[in-house]
Amino acid sequence: MSINRRDFLKLSAAGIAIGAFPSIAFAKSELLKKKGQRVVIVGGGFGGATAAKYIRMWSENKIEVVLVERNKQFVSCPMSNTVLSGKRTIKDLTRNYDGLKKYGIKQIQGEVTGIDPEKQAVMLANGHLSYDRLIVAPGVDFMFEQIEGLNAKVADESILHAWKAGAQTVALRKQLESMPDGGVFALSIPKAPYRCPPGPYERACQVAHYLKNNKPKSKVLILDANPDITSKKGLFTAAWNELYPNMVEYRPNAAVLKVDVASKTAKTEFEDIKADVLNVIPPMKAGAVASMAGVVGADGRWCAVDFLTYESKVHKNIHIIGDAIAAALPKSGHMATSQAKVCAAAVIELMQGQAPEQNPTIVNTCYSMVSDIESVHVANVFRFNVEKQAMVSAEGGGVSAKRSEMEGAMADYWLENILNDVLT
């Protein structure tokens, strides 16, 4: 998005004048002249990018779609734990958004500064975008304040979370490389719900895989705030015991309450743990854009939606998809794309004066790499339950019978196919 100096002056003037002459000034600061029906999507992750593509595709290009994303490139969180073991580099997980151009999606790289649900507008630094419907796909933000001594700066510089794939993933790999043999890698898991339920346990496997081959006297210590392993329990414990014997130690009910940066110490209710690498995944909530839209629920964390349309329970014409919603659905990449498609279909129907699909049925398939070649999965079909007004797991879902190389290959193909579905 480039604007020349004259436009910039006009937009700045418009920005200043908003209070005094709302309607005229507001009209002037429109970033893209709106002609027909428009959907603005904020967030170009798995959910947002999928919604953008499918609204264009399924509306036969009749509905204008503007996709706002702050990052230049897409980095896949799924499979990013394999960067820690060295199976992949972050480059292998990075894609650009060029593949979406052919759908006629208008893409703006920028930071949203506010959302006005009354005027139906999304604010950016240099102007605004009016919408008929808004889809918010903000992913998660971290609640650093829940852990004493932790804040965004500390989390960026020393006590990393690496729970959004990118620079932190690479930095955590470097910390691992600098760790002495015989050292401790402590991994702290927040209370559910959080993004990617099996992700932390997969991370323990990937870290252990690296340590086994490079620093075999070292330990992975899992400090889980939950009372038990939240996903694929039998499969993960089997992998720890059989592939990494005496290397992975699991402690339930061990929420980290405080960290000390200088001594790399984590404090739980029961003990102080000194680590060589301290990897604290903080509690999470819906990304900041959800708060700007005023669609976060009473819990201050997640957004309540109607599961037929993903429309907010608070504001009309605002839809929320992906990790940010309150639901008994796993916060996963595949789930975000599945929700995005239900939302895309519903948005088109609603904008064309039709009733949305009444029986949404969606799927989640999630692979976790337990070594460099072996994987395990959990797979479920979820159906809309009228009585509960919620998505409920259908019969037959479940986890792998055992870890296998076959599933390791399937995990690679899953990644390739889902990234293609989202971005091309």
């Binding site: 499918y54 264009r56 595709m57 399924w58 036969e60 290009n61 052919k102 759908y103 006629g104 595949h334 794309t337 599945s338 498609k341 239900v342 279909a345 699909e357 029986n359 949404p360 049925t361 969606i362 799927v363 398939t365 999965h377 797979a379 479920n380 079909v381 159906r383 259908a394 019969e395 037959g396 879902g397 479940g398 792998s400 296998s404 076959m406 599933e407 290959a409 399937m410 690679d412 193909y413 899953w414 390739e416 196919n417 889902i418 293609n420 579905d421 091309t424």
Partner: protein, 103 residues
Amino acid sequence: MIKKYLFVITCALGLALPAVQAQAEVDKHARNLAASCAACHGTNGHSAGGTPVLAGMDKALFIGSMKDFKSGARPATVMHQHAKGYTDDEFSLLADFFAAQKR
């Protein structure tokens, strides 16, 4: 002038923007059901590799496979779990949708 002609031709061929073929006749419920398969089997069943291409798959083969996954007659790592989540009527809807997709 040439540019203009080219533009008209590309639009006429539907190449400028990828419109989904025969979208008007597509059963939207079937389309929506099928959409979840794309994570592993590609958009509209056009797999990028590793999983079967569902686009253009013979209807009987699709339904037979899903029923065998569901009953356990055909061993699988994942598909038996997905198949159990759908009804036979839904297998039929999905089969119609994928059979209608150009390979």
